[in-house]
């Protein structure tokens, strides 16, 4: 009989050991670095997949560390295992892809170390049941994302993008910290399971603070409204990193947080509606922005924001299973799209879709794979994106959720189909004006892409074991088992599905009929103009970043680096402490 404890430890610690090992080997042995990174990430992935058979609810590992932080506890319920499998499997595939993509790059040690650290931190974030530890891992993932987005640190745009990601997620981290401190103040423990099962005992106003704090944290992490602008700027990273951030390790954290704490906050007036609104606004705005973007990776980034909006909306609508299932689908097809985009960019050397076109002839394999991912993103049956999106829309109709939000989400599904078609068309079909020199696609790239392509076509078959696992191990969330036949029957026979399919088909047709829809296009111009300016949110986010930077600059003068001043500060601080003690505080 397999034990779960060693599996948890392996999947937690192995990535970190790997990070250390790859770092220590040194950049002179890049072949060994490639090999080690692949081996360590694959071990972690296998260990987390094996957890599927031995999941348990409740705390299973506990390291006492003294009073102030509570025990460092780890739990392996359905949500945690689910996310940990996504993080490690997609992470391992991204690393395998990197072997070709990063071949010949400098400073591979820094690259692979941070990737492995990133995976390990995400593992910790989803497996721990200690809120303080969760916050720590939360911040480690933010740090890794910063380091990897600005991996090309001689490019000022990359550095600025990394800085932006770091600051925006830190702003959200404050919300999580607030919630953690409040939980500790009122229950004397950081234990999440304890809090979830006793949340009714907490004072109402404290719960409200926590609920909105968590919402801010999740919105910042998942690049939701109003923090959505950091994710497109994170596109300066190498493509495998984009895949990692978008599909495996970073943005899923926010949706996970909302799903994890949903039972405690669902009774709070207005909270579920706010969550749905955040999801809807992100989905809608990002879809419109994706429609006017010309950078291939930017289109994919906006589509991530939009799809995450669907997941957040699903949590708000009470469809925890639907949201997590879409998270799985999205992880697969988005990782696939990003890696395929990486293969394209690697081959043609540009990211501007206007310079591409008719690449399908030269790269039939990539076109085939990219089309699978695009179909899933657009919600075309029978790929996994179709099933999970239908489940979300169904959840939006039930439970007495507002109809107008549902209708907007339906409209966004059409927009998604439209911009996906536009993207595919501009890259693989149509005409190319400039002559491009095309490199072949590497073997490791093909392996990762084929694996992901198979996943996109098949992960929806896993609905039964996943829902069963969640039902058994998450008693508070009240998730019902959904067998495969039941899901297929529900989806196929629901009229909502056919409406959604019609909308999606309409979206695709809109692209092909774009010439005859001249008038609509004209009417769309002002929206397109505003969308290119990202609806003014760019300015708000810029303001936050500039304030942070200038505050840092002015505080810098405190660090004189001169011993005389430092001694003087110590003296002043001592006097203040004595004065405080003297007043009897």
């Amino acid at each position: 009989m397999m034990q779960i404890e060693p599996l948890v430890l392996i999947s937690l610690i192995i990535p970190w050991v790997g990070a250390l090992a790859v770092w220590l080997i040194g950049d002179n042995y890049s072949k060994i670095q490639h090999l080690l990174a692949v081996i360590f990430s694959v071990i972690a992935a296998v260990a987390s997949i094996m957890m599927l058979w031995v999941y348990k609810s409740g705390t299973i590992l506990s390291f006492p560390v003294g009073n102030a932080f509570g025990d460092f506890t780890f739990t392996t319920d359905g949500l945690g295992i689910y996310l940990s499998i996504i993080a490690t499997v997609i992470g391992a595939l991204a690393i395998i892809f990197s072997v070709d993509y990063m071949r010949g790059s400098d400073q591979l040690g820094r690259y692979y170390s941070f990737v492995l650290l990133f995976i390990g931190a995400m593992e910790g974030l989803v497996l721990t049941s200690n809120l303080f530890l969760m916050f720590s891992f939360w911040e480690i993932t933010a740090l890794c994302s910063y380091a990897l987005i600005s991996f090309y640190n001689d490019d000022p745009k990359a550095v600025a993008g990394g800085m932006k990601a770091l600051i925006m997620t830190q702003v959200g981290g404050v919300g999580l910290l607030l919630s953690a401190v409040l939980v500790y103040a009122f229950s004397g423990s950081f234990d999440i399971n304890l809090f979830l099962s006793n949340s009714a005992l907490f004072p109402k106003n404290v719960l409200i603070w926590m609920a909105y704090g968590m919402l801010i944290a999740a919105a910042a992490k998942s690049a939701q409204f109003p923090f959505q602008t950091w994710l497109p700027d994170a596109m300066e990273a190498p493509s495998p990193i984009s895949a990692l951030i978008h599909a495996a390790t970073m943005v899923n954290g926010g949706v996970y947080l909302l799903a994890r704490f949903y039972p405690a906050f669902k009774e709070i007036p207005g909270w579920t509606l706010s969550v749905m609104l955040v999801g809807m606004l992100s989905a809608l705005m990002a879809a419109i922005m994706a429609l006017v973007a010309n950078d291939l990776k930017r289109v994919l980034a906006y589509s991530t924001v939009s799809q995450l909006g669907y997941m957040v909306y699903a949590v708000g609508a009470g469809g925890i299973l639907a949201s997590q299932f879409h998270l799985l689908s999205h992880s697969f097809f988005k990782a696939l799209l990003f890696l395929a985009a990486g293969a394209i960019i690697h081959s043609v050397g540009t990211r501007d879709m206007r310079e591409m076109g008719s690449l399908g002839k030269e790269m039939p394999f990539v076109r085939f794979i990219f089309l699978i991912g695009a179909f899933a993103l657009a919600g075309v049956p029978i790929f996994n994106g179709f099933w999970s999106k239908e489940l979300i829309l169904e959840a939006g109709l039930s439970h007495g959720n507002p109809l107008w939000i549902y209708i907007i989400m339906l409209f966004v599904a059409g927009l998604t189909a439209l911009y996906t078609t536009r993207c595919v068309w501009m890259v693989f079909y149509g005409d190319r004006e400039k002559e491009l020199h095309i490199h072949p696609v590497g073997k490791n790239m093909k392996f990762s892409l084929s694996f992901l392509g198979a996943g996109v076509a098949t992960t929806w078959l896993l609905i039964a074991p996943f829902s069963e696992m969640m039902r058994k191990s998450l008693p508070i969330h009240a998730i019902e088992t959904l067998s495969l036949q039941l899901m297929v029957r529900e989806v196929v026979f629901a009229p909502a599905t056919w409406i959604a399919l019609a909308v999606i088909g309409l979206g695709i047709m809109t692209w092909f009929g774009r010439d005859s829809l001249d008038r609509i296009q004209k009417a769309y111009q002002p929206i397109a103009f505003v969308a290119e300016k990202s609806f003014g949110f760019e300015r708000i986010n810029k303001f936050i970043i500039e304030t942070t930077n200038s505050a840092g600059e002015s505080l810098r003068d405190l660090q004189t680096g001169k011993i005389n001043w430092n001694v003087f500060y110590i003296l002043i601080a001592l006097i203040i402490v004595f004065a405080l003690l003297g007043t009897g505080a």
């Binding site: 680096g561 001169k562 011993i563 005389n564 001694v567 003087f568 003296l571």
Partner: protein
């Protein structure tokens, strides 16, 4: 003015510590910094012996002071050795020249 012996010792402690602290605050020369630390520690040592006396545990205070003497000697040795190396590498003992990372 008539000072009790305890008051004299107390003033000596404050005076030694104050002189050392003042020296530490104003000097930029590395050797002088070491000397300033020495003077401060001497004041602290005197304070230890003094409190031992006041609490009628003189041997405890004195043994603490002995420990401090040992630590203090090591500090002086290492500090001066560092100063020698700094002089060799940087060419100056000024603390301002040491901070090469500052803009």
């Amino acid at each position: 003015m008539n000072l009790s012996p305890a008051m004299i010792v107390f003033l000596a402690v404050i005076g030694l510590f104050g002189i050392g602290l003042y020296c530490l605050l104003i000097t930029r020369n590395l050797i002088r910094v070491v000397i300033a630390l020495q003077i401060m520690v001497k004041g602290a040592m005197l304070a230890l012996i003094f409190t031992g006396q006041l609490n009628s545990q003189p041997s405890l205070g004195q043994s603490m002071a002995l420990t401090v003497i040992v630590a203090d000697t090591i500090l002086a040795v290492i500090g001066l050795a560092l100063a020698v190396q700094v002089k060799r590498h940087v060419g100056s003992l000024d603390l301002k020249d040491l901070s090469s990372l500052k803009r």
